[in-house]
């Protein structure tokens, strides 16, 4: 019996105006992409607090993605710029304490980039599979 292949669980914080719309476009256009993602729509990538990211890892997420509008497209003008700084700091500190950097990604996906969204998710799942389940930050019971 083929060993059951590890399927990573990804929590994706998608900004409502762009990335979430992009993922809807991928769905409406019947594009194929792995079903590993648990999408959480947020009003803006700038509203994603490091606590949400940590809480996702604590609850057992194998990978976390934060996706927002391209710089300049933000519905709230500056939300994604704030997010860029904050996520960079979170990424550095996660790496500093020893979490595999592949587990935490950020991306710009506009409402028209349904294809790019599926690309990002495919690559993300591929890069997570060899790492196996995330056990470092996970709550044990």
């Amino acid at each position: 019996m083929m060993a059951e292949e590890f399927e990573p669980k990804i929590v994706a914080f998608l900004c409502k105006w762009c990335s979430s719309a992009g993922s809807d476009l991928a769905g409406v256009s019947r594009m194929e992409y792995p079903p590993n993602v648990v999408p959480i729509t947020v009003m803006c990538s700038g509203s994603v607090s490091p606590l949400y990211i940590l809480s996702a890892f604590n609850k057992g997420a194998d990978g976390v993605l934060v996706s927002g509008c391209h710089p300049g497209d933000c519905h709230y003008i500056k939300g994604n710029y704030y997010a860029r700084r904050r996520i960079a700091l979170v990424k550095e500190l996660l790496e500093f304490i020893g979490l595999e950097p592949e587990r935490f990604q950020m991306s710009w996906v506009s409402a028209a980039e349904g294809l790019k969204y599926t690309q990002i998710i495919k690559n993300f799942v591929q890069s997570l599979k060899p790492l196996g389940p995330q056990t470092k930050l996970r709550r044990n019971p």
Binding site: K59, G60, R139, P141
Partner: protein, 346 residues
């Protein structure tokens, strides 16, 4: 029963205690703490005082009281999770820390016996080591009815006579440990006994600190509840939990439900240490807090140990180990607070 054990036979005696889990002070960087000893050779008994007392073994910071979930027929089901403590021996227990366990036995005994505590406590044997020299600059055990060679709570008291230990067994559990190493022990000679008495008497002389008039403290405290003294004494307090979490006699705890990640009705009820120094300790869900500020909380810490506990159990709930003094980040010193109470009352 009194015996002599040559120091080089200590590891062999401990090897004979295969049926027990052996804990002893072990060094981690600059600090000592009790840890499980795999290899009896590693045991060392020349250490200063540990940051955390044997309380971490007798009354661990976290334990699961019960698990809840749905049984296979979908009904809510709870299972009691009493601790399964293997028989254990803790070596190198300072007499004051053993007195702390002796006091905690009173709290968790009494009319409501705490099965979680006693399931563990009944399996644990405490082997003490006399403090020939005070392990901390802030020791004051003599001020609170303790001493560097007190026996309360101990099963065996070891005293270092230089190349050998004078071993006094105080309970059947102590005798049982002796029998497990019969041939290693010798009978104490009159010289040994004289030397023991001298060392134990001398050990009381080099304590540097004491509380001025401890006997009057409970009655002085009784009338100082409303005093502004507590505001001045707690002015620099940072409201952290060091003094209570490190205190060997502090037994306050919290009980919370932890829910499994997979389902909200599966999880466990967990008991953890708690401290009267944090606001949520006494805050009502209406927001009213009977002890709203750090002054009332310092007062509670002092009242509980030096007025309420003695009134209820005839012992001070302080063993004079000095941990709260040594580790307070802003140097709040329980001895000075109490001396201040004496001066204030005078």
């Amino acid at each position: 029963m009194e015996k002599i054990l040559n120091k080089k036979n200590l590891p062999r005696w401990i090897k004979g205690l295969k049926a027990f889990q052996v804990y002893a002070p072990s060094r981690d960087g600059d600090i000592w703490n009790y840890a499980l000893i795999e290899n009896p050779e590693d045991i060392t008994l020349d250490y200063t005082s540990t940051v955390l007392s044997p309380k971490t073994i007798v009354f661990p910071q976290r334990e699961i009281l019960l698990k809840f979930g749905t049984s296979n027929d979908g009904e809510l089901e709870i299972t009691e999770t009493l601790p399964q403590q293997d028989p254990s021996v803790i070596f190198g227990v300072r007499p004051c820390d053993a007195k702390a366990v002796f006091l905690m036995d009173k709290v968790f005994g009494g009319d409501f016996v705490d099965p979680y505590y006693w399931n563990r406590r009944d399996q644990i044997i405490l082997v003490g080591l006399t403090c020939n020299t005070p392990p901390s600059p802030n020791c004051f055990c003599l001020s609170v009815d303790g001493s560097p060679h007190s026996k309360d709570g101990l099963d065996i008291l070891m005293t270092d006579l230089g190349d050998r230990y004078f071993m006094e067994s105080l309970t059947e559990k102590g005798d049982e440990l002796f029998n497990l190493g019969k041939k290693l022990f010798e009978k104490p000679t009159a010289k040994d006994i004289k030397e023991l008495a001298k060392i134990q008497a001398d050990s009381e002389k080099n304590l540097k600190r004491q509380i001025k008039n401890i006997k009057k403290i409970p009655s002085l405290l009784k009338d100082m509840f409303e005093s502004s003294y507590w505001d001045e004494a707690s002015m620099s307090c940072l409201r952290c939990g060091i003094c209570t979490y490190l205190c060997p006699t502090c037994h306050c705890f919290d009980m919370n439900d932890e829910v499994a990640v997979t389902s909200p009705i599966k999880g466990q009820r967990v008991r953890t240490w708690d401290t009267c120094q944090f606001p949520d300790f006494t805050m009502h869900s209406s927001g009213h807090n009977p002890r709203p500020d750090k002054a009332s909380r310092l007062r509670q810490r002092v009242f509980h140990k030096f007025y309420y506990f003695p009134e209820r159990y005839k012992n001070f709930q302080c063993i004079g180990c000095g941990r709260c003094i040594s580790k307070c980040p802003v140097g709040i010193d329980i001895i000075q607070v109490l001396d201040g109470v004496s001066d204030h009352g005078a």
